[in-house]
Amino acid sequence: MVAIYNPEIACSLLNAVETQSLSKIYPNRLKAVDEISIKIENGEIFGFLGPNGAGKSTTIMILTTLLKPTSGKAFVAGFDVVTQAKNVRHNIGYVQQDSTVDEYLTGRENLELQAKLNHIPKDIMEKRIGDILGIVELADRQDEPAVTYSGGMRKRLDIAGGLLHRPKVLFLDEPTLGLDIQTRYKIWDYIKKIHDEFGMSIFLTTHYMEEADKLCDNISIIDHGRIKVTGSPKNLKSSLGNEVVLFEIDSEIKLDKLVFEIRKILTVKEISTDGLAVTVFTTSGDQLIPQIFQHASNLGVKIETISLTKPTLDDVFLSYTGRELREDNGKYDRKKERERIRKIRA
């Protein structure tokens, strides 16, 4: 037998998720996903970040075999999402954004249903369900109808359901959206715990930067259907400079002149203004502060406050996606509307 080496298939097996120029154009000609190429290694937690309507949900629907791409290829757990959809479905868990628990069923019955949908053999089903209920700390409420559960408990039940069949790739679509801060921290703990325990790859969409920062090995920022940047949270933050200097001045008159002068300093990576407040990303904050004072006093500008901080993923996100509000711009309305409809479906 002659083994034919196919580099495309060979590399897709190494990765939990791989897309090649993946695009989706909706019948209304909206290009929701535009030539996306990503690689997620086995065992990696990957964050997919983007503003509302950026194309996150469409991508996740293609990867979970719910939508067919218009062009390009996507492999999940080594299988093509179009031609080997059934194999893909065997290997993925999908926790949707909105809770999908059957309210009339008890917590345990919900998981039984999930187990049956995923062909978990009867003899190991009970044990699996018991184990997972322990992990998400729902064992004591398992025989109550899910209608009595709080939002956080439902989310935990959803996550438990996505894990039951030990998928190779777990898709988590906005896992902490709409949850209070205590619950959000708890969910992050569960995600870390299950990742440590089962070692599967996790594809996570979110627009909470803190969430991506805490959980993800790598992230991609997507906007208008295109990948803007990919990298580890740490590298992305340091690409903006290691430090941020924030200061406020007393009058607008010489603001532009001052910004012009500061921009010329070598250690400055990026500078932006908001009213009288100025944000400067830099590689060396302690050297920059005296220089700012120097320029300010040369121009006769008084600095009211000044502080030195570390850049956050928020800064990274904003620098790639811009600051404008999506809802306020008519151009994005159609996109936003479609996104809303898709979310309702999801």
């Binding site: 719910l66 069923l105 999930q114």
Partner: protein, 258 residues
């Protein structure tokens, strides 16, 4: 696999039904009113009914019709939870799991037809309590089998409409447009023999007609082998066509964005 997948969906639908029982009794009120009010309103048509060879009272004549009324509406409304499932994500959960698309449609249809048969059996009970006679009580079993088969076909209509509708409004609009005429265009309330020719012709194209006739024959005990065979053949044909159509349309529609 296909069978156990179908059973999984059936199991889930029945569990949901058992836990949301409050509607069961409410849904019995309307057919009960039909039997009591319409059954007595037209009591004086007895001579007309008997002129075409039916020996009982009007209530006895129309009771099979009301059993079918219950079956029609329970099964044709039953698919509406397909829309809820798509809205609340259960559908996506099922679609991203390894079970086949047609077993989702089939599991739903089987559950609907069983629920429909349970509702209809309660109506049969009410009819018997109101003095409708049945020649042989054992006939209840084949009657229920007919209701199950018929409802399976009708739930197919419901699943097709639900899969193609994008909203509740569309679903209810189409279903109400279909349900009543299908009931009226049958010998449920009045014998075919006394209808104008064109109406009788249209009624003969309606699968409801054959189910009503079959149940009526079984209740009155006047069974003719030929007509029974014809009725069963028509119902079976209808069921096969609807099951195939429903799983085809469902599989096609769920692959589109909702």
């Amino acid at each position: 696999m296909m069978l156990s997948d179908t059973y999984t969906i059936f199991w889930r639908e029945m569990k949901r039904y058992r836990k949301s029982r409050s509607g069961v009794l409410i849904r019995l009120i309307q057919p009960a009113i039909w039997i009591i009010v319409i059954g007595n309103t037209f009591a004086s048509t007895k001579p007309l009914i008997q002129s075409v060879g039916f020996s009982g009272s009007y209530i006895e004549f129309m009771a099979p019709g009301v059993i079918m009324l219950t079956a029609i509406f329970t099964s044709i409304f039953g698919g509406v939870n397909t829309l809820w499932d798509r809205r609340y994500g259960f559908m996506n959960k099922a679609l991203t799991s390894p079970i086949s698309r047609s077993s989702i449609a089939l599991g739903k249809m089987l559950a609907i037809s069983l629920i429909s048969a349970m509702q209809s059996s309660l109506i049969l009970g009410i009819a018997l309590a109101l003095g409708v006679s049945i020649t042989n009580l054992l006939m209840v079993i084949p009657i229920m089998l007919i209701v199950i088969a018929f409802s399976l076909g009708f739930s197919g209509i419901s699943v097709v409409v639900a899969a193609t509708s994008k909203s509740q409004e569309t679903f209810w609009g189409v279903i109400n447009f279909l349900g009543m005429p299908l009931f009226m265009l049958s010998p449920a309330l009045f014998p075919l023999e006394l209808l104008p020719n064109w109406l009788a012709f249209v009624a003969k194209l309606n699968p409801v007609t054959y189910s009503v006739l079959l149940i009526r024959e079984m209740m009155s005990g006047k069974i003719q082998a030929f007509s029974v065979a014809l009725d069963i053949a028509v119902i079976c044909g209808f069921v096969v066509v609807m099951v195939a159509l429903a799983s085809y349309v469902f599989t096609r529609e769920v692959n589109k964005p909702f």
